[in-house]
């Protein structure tokens, strides 16, 4: 055991570089390049504000990811709780002093860029819970104390995020947390019971929703009830995707996007533009690229010796999957519209920062996959 510890701590920089997961790295680079191209298309085939900013963010956050990867996974394990608390503090800060924009207060001004702490919480919650389930004995997982603690870890940030208000991100944080509970060994019946409770209380939850959120659900059920109002986004999104066809309309030739029929084309609806221009083949290709990334992360989790690394990788892979599914289902009209970006592709610094940190930790787990954590 000692031997192993010694071995791991002696990994040189050269070995670290050698141990990086290159398939994952290449996939991330490919995705980044693609995202810049699509951003270029949203700018109407010119290098304008969004393309520039997106590129600069990638140029900063990609090295940051490598930087994160070069820290030992043990380090991230040790700092998980602290990171979680820092993000909670940021959320508290934002709820008092945050920047307001279009009716919600989610951002803090960091001079260089505007940070959305709730995005960081998506990673922090996985780290925090991974550490918790790493440390707890399997026998104690379903104890009352343990359940109380993990539920608090999930509910506290959600309260802050939902009050911003930001339903989309809260759902993603909740799902990211729940998946760790599931993986950590919480009894299946608890999941079933709470799911049933959720269904029963759904009408009450809906009554607490804000009018615009209710409208979104109604619109989802029948987009044509108000085609120029609430249903506009989803109708235009489906038109864009549907008109893409097998091969798409071609790069920079998406009429729906460059004639401004698409709403939010830089952020939540970026896939719509991609799908319009690259068609079914391009869309499936993008899904395959994401699948490779998810698969690589799962594989790293599977070879990790420590349960922290394993839980984090599995949890993060699931989170990425959920982001993609929620985003795509939304633009394809399978789910009501909830604000949720597509990882890396969507414009938005905080989301990209969180995603890149997540990849960084995964890569750290890969470099140190033999590392045992007590």
């Amino acid at each position: 055991m000692f031997q192993h510890d010694r071995l791991n701590s002696e990994i040189t920089l050269f070995q670290k570089i050698k141990n990086l997961d290159y398939i994952l790295l290449i996939s991330i680079i490919l995705l980044s390049v693609l995202s810049v191209l699509v951003m270029y298309s949203t700018d109407g085939g010119e290098i304008l504000f969004h393309t520039k900013n997106h590129f600069v963010k990638l140029a900063v956050f990609f090295p940051l990811m490598i930087f994160v990867a070069f820290f030992n996974i043990k380090f991230w394990h040790n700092f998980s709780y602290i990171i979680y608390f820092i993000v909670i503090l940021l959320l508290i800060y934002v709820s008092f002093f945050g920047i307001k924009s279009s009716g919600s207060q989610r951002w803090m001004d960091l001079y260089l860029f505007v940070l959305q702490p709730s995005e960081l919480m998506k990673i922090a919650i996985i780290m925090c819970l991974a550490k918790y389930f790493h440390r707890i004995k399997i026998e104690n997982v379903n104890s009352f104390t343990s359940i109380t603690i993990v539920l608090s870890i999930i509910i506290i940030p959600i309260i802050f995020v939902i009050s911003q208000p930001d339903l989309g991100t809260s759902i993603l944080i909740a799902l990211s947390g729940l998946i760790i509970l599931w993986l950590g060994g919480m009894k299946i019946k608890y999941f079933i019971y709470s799911f049933i409770t959720f269904l029963i209380s759904l009408p009450f939850i809906i009554s607490f929703l804000k009018p615009y959120q209710k409208l979104r659900i109604l619109t989802f059920l029948d987009p044509d009830r108000d085609p120029l109002g609430a249903g506009y986004q989803i109708i235009q999104s489906k038109i864009a995707i549907g008109s893409g066809g097998l091969n798409g309309k071609g790069f920079l030739k998406g009429t729906q996007s460059y004639l401004d029929f698409l709403p939010e084309k830089h952020t939540d609806f970026i896939f719509t533009l991609f799908s319009e221009e690259f068609g079914f083949i391009g869309s499936v290709g993008l899904l395959i690229l994401y699948s490779i990334i998810i698969f690589r992360i799962l594989r790293i989790g599977a070879i990790s010796r420590s349960n922290f690394a394993r839980l984090f990788c599995f949890g993060y892979a699931f989170a990425i999957f959920i982001y993609i599914v929620v985003n795509l289902s939304m633009v394809l009209g399978l789910l009501p519209i909830v604000g949720s970006p597509l990882p890396i592709m969507s414009y938005g610094g905080s989301s990209m920062l969180a995603t890149m940190i997540g990849f960084g930790i995964v890569l750290s787990a890969k470099i140190n996959h033999k590392q045992m954590i007590a």
Binding site: I138, K238, I241, G242, G245, L259, S275, L287, A302, L332
Partner: protein, 640 residues
């Protein structure tokens, strides 16, 4: 070891549960791919259409109206390039400054400026505002000179209706102008093709033939963005110009009619006696239809409206006049046909006739002495026709008159404003006035006064049907697709065959019982013009090429009192409103006749002095143009 066991168990749990999730992920991804497939592959067509509907917008341009040409192909209603001035608000830097500049350059009224400001508020910033619909060339040049200072202003060239002969054809063609709401709603074709700035026919043939003339819109396809702004032009679909309509009229003769009636109120109609082609149809005074194209100014409108000679009334079709003595050929024919009189029948005219204590005067106070039909017609002896009418009775007269087209519309549906006129009979009076017919009324009907009301075109058609030997014709103003030649029409008519290519029904073309009677009336009309003491003897032409036969008429507009009869005032001494209408009907050449005409000069005095001289001037031109017309008709037949 226990710890490590627990660690292994935990790893197992994590892996097992991860496997379950992994399977679920695959299922979800497959679901998403399926959705993509259904949208992009299965429903691709539907969404492609929707996407095109989103981005492509069509702009209809005003259709180009078809030309109307005369018999010889001269354009009498055409299209002209006009210069317009548009403003595109979004390109304007300083709107108020621009308006001040334009106001000075084009002398725009304050009202117009207010209207532009109102339009600007109503329209989208990229929609153009029409500042001026019809710039003169000098204005257009001026604008182009200052264009550097007029940002957002666009000089545009477009097409507008034009009437090259100004007022010559106004009452035939009518004019075009902006349609009102009701006109758009009433006509489906206009509704479908309407675009702002489009003009439609308001009157005359322009209105009647709207659906033929209108043409189809040119369509401009643009790609627009989500806000409706044009991004780029995709394609241009040319419109089809409306059908060309060829009329039977002859511009030279029509123009001459206008000149002959200059400064007078009245009407001239000229007709081909075999084909029924209307050669000219002029109502005087006329007005310039070009004034209406871009909205007539209030001053010009008042000038037309308040003119005492009433230019707005189409006198040829809606003017109703007592035929006066021009009815006498029909009275004579009716009496002959009904064997009431013969050529030897004579009446002694003493200048008046007494009936039941009422005196009926002849125009010649001293009387004509013993007169036969020929002399009575020649000198227009009223007493003779009183007696003939008395013997004939109004009902028999009515039958003949209606046979020859009185009391019926000549051109059917072609003109909304054509009037039927009236030829009375006993039944009519009973039904409409509720009183019995009085014999005295028969007498005055016999000289074309009383209830009888005719339009100038009816009189022309009546004369034409006497001239052609007593055969019915169907007057027309539009050339058929299969025009019949002059000779064919004449031949088929005389052989009693159907000559009217336009209608399939076999009509009874013969209007007479005995054609000899027609001949007698024709001879009497000849005498009236070409023999000494004839009422229009002074207007005769001796050259047999131009020689014509005719009948004058003088229609009283008010009852002549005894005092007035004694005074026997000169025309100038009578107030304009009370002067008689002068009429003249004629046909020629006398040998082989071809054309008939009717002339009426409102308040012109006697027919022999005011109307017959016009015929003399006109006949020369009509006959001179006959060969040309004939050639044109043969040419048409060869090319067909």
């Amino acid at each position: 070891m226990i710890k490590s066991n627990s660690g292994i168990r935990k790893t197992d749990v994590i892996n097992r549960r991860m496997f379950l999730i992994g399977a679920a992920k695959v299922v979800v991804f497959v679901g998403i791919v399926a959705r993509l497939f259904s949208l992009q592959i299965n429903e691709n067509k539907k969404y492609l259409t929707l996407s095109d509907k989103n981005r492509i917008r069509e702009w209809k341009l005003p259709p180009t109206r078809g030309n109307i040409v005369d018999y010889f192909g001269n354009v009498i209603a055409g299209n002209l390039k006009v210069y317009q001035l548009h403003i595109i608000p979004e390109q304007v830097e300083n709107f108020n400054y621009l308006l001040v500049r334009l106001k000075n350059l084009l002398n725009l009224s304050d009202k117009r400026i207010a209207r532009i400001n109102k339009l600007k508020a109503e329209l989208k910033p990229w929609d153009s505002i029409i500042v001026s619909e019809n710039l003169s060339w000098s204005q257009f040049v001026k604008i182009n000179n200052y264009l550097y200072d007029l940002v957002g202003v666009k000089p545009v060239m477009t097409i507008s209706r034009n009437y090259p002969f100004n007022d010559v054809y106004t009452h035939v063609l009518g004019y075009v102008s902006q349609p009102n709401e009701q006109e758009i709603l009433e006509n489906e074709i206009i509704q479908e093709r309407f675009v702002p700035g489009m003009k439609i026919g308001k009157l005359g043939l322009e209105r009647r033939l709207e659906n033929h003339l209108i043409g189809t819109n040119a369509i401009q396809r643009y790609e627009v963005n989500a806000y409706g702004k044009r991004i780029n032009q995709l394609e241009h679909q040319k419109g089809v110009q409306g059908s060309k309509i060829r009329l039977t009229v002859d511009t030279e003769i029509q123009k001459a009619c206008g000149e002959l009636l200059n400064q007078k109120a009245g009407s001239i109609s000229v007709m081909d006696i075999y084909t029924g082609d209307i050669i000219a149809m002029y109502s005087s005074p006329s007005y310039n239809p070009n004034l209406f194209l871009f909205g007539i100014s209030q001053d010009e409108w008042q000038l037309i409206r308040n003119n005492p000679l009433k230019p707005l009334i189409n006198k040829t079709l809606s003017g109703l006049y007592s035929p006066g003595s021009t009815i006498k050929p029909i009275v004579a024919l009716s009496a002959l046909e009904n064997k009431v009189i013969d050529t030897k029948f004579k009446v002694k005219c003493t200048g008046k006739m007494e009936l039941y204590g009422q005196t009926f005067h002849c125009w010649k106070e001293k009387g004509h002495g013993w007169v036969s039909l020929k002399n009575a017609m020649k000198q227009s002896c009223d007493t003779y026709f009183y007696e003939v009418a008395r013997l004939l009775g109004v009902d028999r007269l009515n039958i003949t008159a209606e046979k020859f087209g009185l009391g019926k519309k000549v051109l059917g549906d072609y003109f909304d404003n054509e009037k039927k006129g009236l030829f009375p009979n006993t039944k009519w009076k009973k039904n409409n006035l509720g009183k019995g017919w009085v014999l005295g009324e028969t007498l005055i009907t016999g000289i074309g006064q009383g209830y009888t009301q005719t339009t100038p075109l009816q009189l022309c058609m009546m004369t034409a049907q006497i001239a052609n030997g007593g055969y019915a014709i169907k007057p027309k103003i539009i050339v058929d697709s299969n025009p019949i030649s002059y000779e064919d029409a004449k031949q088929s008519m005389e052989s009693g065959l159907l000559f009217d290519a336009g209608s399939e029904e076999l009509l009874d073309k013969k209007l007479f019982k005995n054609q000899k009677n027609i001949k007698i009336v024709q001879e009497a009309m000849f005498a009236s013009t070409n023999e000494r003491f004839g009422t229009s003897y002074k207007s005769r032409i001796d050259d047999p090429k131009y020689q014509f036969a005719g009948k004058t008429g003088t229609a009283q507009v008010k009852r002549i009192s005894k005092r007035e009869r004694e005074l026997d005032l000169e025309l100038e001494q009578i107030p304009y409103k009370d002067r008689d209408h002068a009429l003249y009907v004629a046909y020629g050449p006398y040998v082989n006749p071809r054309y008939a005409l009717s002339i009426i000069v409102e308040h012109g005095g006697s027919g022999s002095k005011a109307a017959a001289p016009i015929a003399k001037k006109l006949f020369k031109l009509i006959i001179d143009r006959h060969d040309l017309r004939n050639k044109q008709s043969n040419f048409e037949r060869i090319t067909v």
